[in-house]
Symmetry: C2
Subunit: 206 residues, 2 copies
Amino acid sequence: MNFSSKLLEKAVDEIAQLPGIGKRTALRLALHLLRRPKSQTLQLTGALEDLVEKVNHCQQCHNLSDTPVCEICSNPKRNPKIVCVVEDIRDVMAIENTAQFQGHYHVLGGKISPIEGIGPHNLTIDSLINKVNQGSIEELIFATSSTIEGDTTNFYIFKQLEGLPVTISTIARGISVGDELEYTDEITLGRSIINRIPFENSLNQS
Amino acid sequence: MNFSSKLLEKAVDEIAQLPGIGKRTALRLALHLLRRPKSQTLQLTGALEDLVEKVNHCQQCHNLSDTPVCEICSNPKRNPKIVCVVEDIRDVMAIENTAQFQGHYHVLGGKISPIEGIGPHNLTIDSLINKVNQGSIEELIFATSSTIEGDTTNFYIFKQLEGLPVTISTIARGISVGDELEYTDEITLGRSIINRIPFENSLNQS
């Protein structure tokens, strides 16, 4: 591209480094910034600077937080004895949206994936095992993604915790609410038959 | 969405105000910024601030420029007597990429579009007519988009300039280089027959 303004070129280059944004989209965004009031863009850049300068990870659960200990871990109404193990902050947000879980979280920061060069020591597994060793956790709920990497991560943590007095469960895999049986893949359907639950238990679940 | 960090929420809200970026994409981008080195994000925000604070419009052609008069208008090798009229800075970039035009530009800043509430006075048409009135321009080349709005804009300017000693031309509409005849729409094909050129002229065009 042939820019008449070096500053525009620099801005486009920087925007185009973001994932999923090419040079053309970056130019469209830069021209949009030039058309709207300056103050809006300064609000955007201020928010991005605050984001990278001030947001840190909760010392207890490794979730993103503005304070040393996050709102969930410091909430006295929540049960610290039940800990839900997730990969990512987005998983915390998804589970919080259900309003069905009142325990704490532990954010691993990813899943074990030899192909991407991510081993157990790149995640916060050691910190989780330390917490369990301290004896304050009664139940761990694995809520990682239903993939080979997610299952591997669960199994690795499970092996590390063998012999410790902690209950380990995993969230149910089954047919999504609203799905038709004939379009469900056979592995999910098979698991949902093996893991069937008493009918009474399914009543009164909103 | 249920954010554990107010600063993250603020950043996501600001990013999601950009055109074509929804909340989910904004969150993905914000989390990407948190994963990469801080300095890269400070470079991005610095570039965006420079963009809105320092980039302005060339006093002569209204193209974006870091200096009061842009590089094209201040280049002594270019011919100021031939002016190409375009809608947008992106059109300047597209024509510059062809390396076929050595004159100046005039950026209108859009096209007349009653539906979007854009009239002649929202564009830089007055400034163009002033330039022509000063008598230094020999030829105007309309290079607006081939739409009703583009044609309307051309016609409006043409009427305003009636009687002034300036040649007005428009870029050729025809079959794109590499296109097959049978897939060309009939209006383009019809125009290309009406506006046929001597065969000798088509030789030696790279």
